[in-house]
């Protein structure tokens, strides 16, 4: 029996009546098979009626992203014992951890890349989390992941290590389990088992590994497609370029055996697709959704079936990023 000091109410006990939508805690709103995030069909951006595209809108989790699922799973199991919870995050995991930790009265510190949108930093401060900002090049042990290197150093330094504990989403199997137990079954059930393609990004790799494993077990013919930035220097927070990474820097929870294809996407293609989605379908998503959808649209040129595309979060945390894109668009087209 593992030590479980964190008394987060289990979503399934007592059973919630999601029709009434009355909850005893905000964390009860985190998605589960009984209370799934919506799947929404795309009707105007997709030219191929034989390849139906459905976005799984993870923004409908209570703290705004797909990371709510894993934060809940990891914090439930974390042996805090009076220590401060610390985690590197490009924002979404940090927000979810900070919010859930607040419901438990746990102190939280989040290490963020200094380049993330100011909006996310404000939200983390609003939640009372102490922020550590790290340049991507800060740590030679984790090139291009300064925040991860900083947390690693805090956990190794004799001066600080006894005061902190980290969920460590890159190595924590509970990250995978959250998607294997919930996101995967939700998708299978919502599509009546008819899903043929699943698209997700590479980041910590918990989503693609957990959902991919579940779907492959149900039907090995389902194609699992992973999306990564075309270069390491990108503006797609939460996504990681896996190709070319030394093995020790590849997230330990990634299971490549469930992945059928790895596809690259540029910032321009990702932002352009996210903007097109807003203008054709009225759905406001973060740039990472744009990246994943851009790849799905490539498959729409040749494939048929039912595709589910993970939409990790919404556009509202990326106002400053989109402003840059829209300003360039205005200059190009003279709007």
């Amino acid at each position: 029996m593992s030590f479980t000091p964190n008394t987060i109410p289990k979503i399934e006990e007592p059973a919630q009546d999601h029709r009434l939508r009355v909850y005893s805690s905000i964390v009860d709103l985190i998605a589960s098979e009984e209370n799934p995030t919506p799947l929404v069909r795309l009707n105007r951006i997709n030219p191929n009626p034989d390849f139906q595209l459905y976005l799984k809108l993870e923004r409908y989790n209570p703290f705004g992203s797909i990371k709510d699922r894993i934060a809940l799973e990891m914090l439930r199991d974390l042996k805090c014992e009076g220590k401060t919870v610390i985690e590197p995050s490009s924002g979404n995991t940090g927000l979810a951890i900070a919010a859930i930790a607040n419901t438990l009265g746990l102190p939280v510190e989040i290490a963020v890349p200094s380049g993330i949108p100011e909006d996310k930093k404000v939200m983390l401060r609003l939640l009372g989390a102490k922020l550590w900002e790290a340049d991507d090049g800060l740590c030679p042990r984790f090139p291009s992941e300064g925040a991860r290197g900083l947390v690693d150093a805090i956990l190794r330094s004799p001066a600080t290590r006894d005061g902190y504990v980290s969920p460590n989403q890159y190595e924590n199997e509970l990250n995978v389990r959250a998607h294997y137990r919930n996101t995967g079954p939700e998708i299978f059930r919502q599509t009546g088992g008819e899903v043929t393609h699943f698209f997700a990004g590479f980041g910590t790799c918990g989503t693609i590994t957990g959902v991919g494993k579940y779907l492959k077990e149900r039907n090995s013919a389902i194609k699992i497609i992973g999306v990564e930035p075309a270069s390491t220097d990108h503006k797609l927070p939460g996504l990681k370029r896996i190709t070319g990474l030394p093995p020790e820097l590849v997230p330990k929870i990634l299971d490549e055996s469930v992945i059928d294809a790895r596809e690259e996407v540029t910032d321009g293609e990702a932002y352009g697709t996210a903007v097109a989605l807003a203008r054709k379908e009225g759905i406001l998503v973060g740039p990472t959704t744009g990246a994943i959808l851009a790849v799905a649209l490539r498959y729409a040129a040749t494939d048929s079936g039912i595709a589910v595309i993970i939409s990790p979060d919404d556009a509202f945390k990326y106002g400053s990023y989109y402003a840059e894109y829209l300003d360039r668009e205005d200059k190009t087209y003279g709007n």
Binding site: A134, L138, C139, P140, G146, A153, I154, A159
Partner: protein, 73 residues
């Protein structure tokens, strides 16, 4: 002039670099400080931080796990 001493031996890289930057930010122009570091990785990283800020530190190696950087802001 008095030299302020800061012991960062128990901070590993890159936390040592961040702590050293905080030390530097707290110094007044012309003030001197010596920073004790516990590993070569920290030494390299902190020296890099100082150089980026236009400060050339003096360096002394006491042992494999004791390095002293002396800086003037």
């Amino acid at each position: 002039m008095e030299i302020k001493e800061y012991d960062l031996v128990d901070y590993v890289c890159p936390l040592s670099r961040i702590k050293a930057a905080q030390v530097l930010n707290g110094l007044c122009p012309g003030e001197r400080a010596s920073i004790l570091l516990g590993d070569a990785e920290s030494l390299k990283s902190v020296a890099q931080e100082m150089q980026m800020r236009g400060i050339k530190p003096a360096f002394e190696k006491h042992s494999e796990s004791r390095f002293i950087l002396t800086i003037v802001k």
